[in-house]
Every structure is written in C-alpha cells, then in structure tokens.
Subunit: 128 residues, 2 copies
Amino acid sequence: MNYYTISQLAEQFDISTRTIRYYEERGLISPIRTESGQRLYTKKDRAVLKLILRGKRFGFSLEEIHEMIRLFDNDRTGRKQLEKTIAYGEQKLKEVTERIEDLMQLKQEMESILADFRERLQKMEGTK
Amino acid sequence: MNYYTISQLAEQFDISTRTIRYYEERGLISPIRTESGQRLYTKKDRAVLKLILRGKRFGFSLEEIHEMIRLFDNDRTGRKQLEKTIAYGEQKLKEVTERIEDLMQLKQEMESILADFRERLQKMEGTK
DNA sequence: ATTGACTTTTACGTAAACGTAAATTAAAAT
DNA sequence: ATTTTAATTTACGTTTACGTAAAAGTCAAT
C-alpha cells in the first residue's frame, strides 16, 4: 500500500494543510506517522477526507460529519449497537432525502424565474 | 396589506430577533419603519426571510444568498442587464443541479451501507 | 397612569473553522 | 554536502453569524 503526504492531499482537494490538520485536531481523521512524526494518509483516509468535504458542501457542521463518519466507519459488534447504528442511519437518510426534495423545489422556482426572464428578453428583442 | 412585527417573524421561523436584524445589517432584508422607528415586515419581506433560511440550510453563506436575492428581486430593465441576470441564474441553477446529484449519490451510498448493516443484523438474529 | 412586554441602538462577547506566522526539524533535490 | 522544499508544533489572529447585555424609548393592557 502506498501513502499520501499532507500536501499531496491538500493539493488534490484544493484545501490547506492547516485545514487537514484541523480535521485531525477535531478527531475526524487519523493518519499514521513515520518515525520522525510525519503524517501519512492511506486511501481510506483520503476517502474520509472526501466525505468531510462533501458534508461541508451540504452545510453540515464538522461535528455532524464526525457522527456520520462514526456511522460509516464503526465495526459495530453487539446486536444492540447495530440496531442503534441502523436507527441513526435511517434518521440521517431521512434528512438527506428531505434536503434533496427541498433543493428540487428550489430548482423548480429558479427555472420558472428564469423562464420568465427569458420571455421578457424575447419581447424586448421584438421591439428592438 | 398588513404587517408582521419582528418578534412575530422570529417566532414563526424559530430564530432570534437579533438574527433578523443582522440580516438587515447585511442588507439582505429592508423592512419599512413606523414613525417611531419600529420595523414592519410585509409578506414579501417574509418570503425573503424564508429564502435566506433555506439558503442557509444548504450551506450558502449570507453573501451568496445576498447575490441570489438580487437575482430574484431585481427589476432588470436594460437588455444587457437582463442577459447578465439570466446568465448568472443559469450558473446558479447548474450549481443547484450538481448539488442534487451529489446528494443523491450520498443517499445511494447510505442506503447501501444500511442494507449491509441490516443484513448483518439478520444473520445475528439467526444465530441467537 | 402605570405596569409589563416589546422594540430600538450600541457594543462587547463567542463558537466554529480555519489563516498566518514563528521556530524547529526532516526530506528532497542539486 | 548544502540549498531548497516540506513538515511539525505552538500559538495568536480573523471572519462569519450570530448571542447577550445595557440603556432608553414605545406599545398594550389593566
């Protein structure tokens, strides 16, 4: 397996190294270290980072994202634990579904406004 | 026409009056005033506030939302202006569409993870 | 008329999510 | 071997989006 350095990841995602270290401070990501203390990131770490950034685009706080990572990540062993995880996941899924619907409504509205503008433009072209 | 007071709107949307005044500070909303200086909000103001809050849920900054309001709000007169507005609107529409696709992908992933968890739970029930 | 609830402005405080700079050490390139 | 580039920790700074408190005026109800 091969690793990424912090600046490689920073470049790939167009964020600062500080940002990546900050996510680590907050416990969202945990790279391994070389003897000298340099951080090394696996593909899995990269995937986590990607998930964080996606979460951010949707307006989730780092703490919410943290919870989601625990969900996706955790090797839940007990039956009770598994049930709880599923319940939490269903909750989050519902939230995401609502957001999608919300966004689709916004899209509709934007399209209708744009159609309106285009019509107006048509009429102006006519008179000009 | 009748008006809303600031605390009425605050209650309706479950936000603080400070928040509403802050949006005004930033130029996102402009209620009229009574002689004595009290703010009064029209239905249109209410709609704008709703739009702000929706934008926030999607992780847009107040500045981005401000731009959108200008788009939805503006009585563009000149043809050039109208064309520019349409172009901007199309851009935003594209962004929204991308976000929807992004979210739908997330939803897929969550569903598959959940299916996986449910399967695991099934197997555990069997052995217990 | 006066109590109480509401509103105003002014202004300082705060949490989240980083930015930035300094001092130090390590890795990579010439 | 020595520049150059990249990494680390520590720590203070900054922006956004409000919270909170104070002082003063206003509206609504008894």
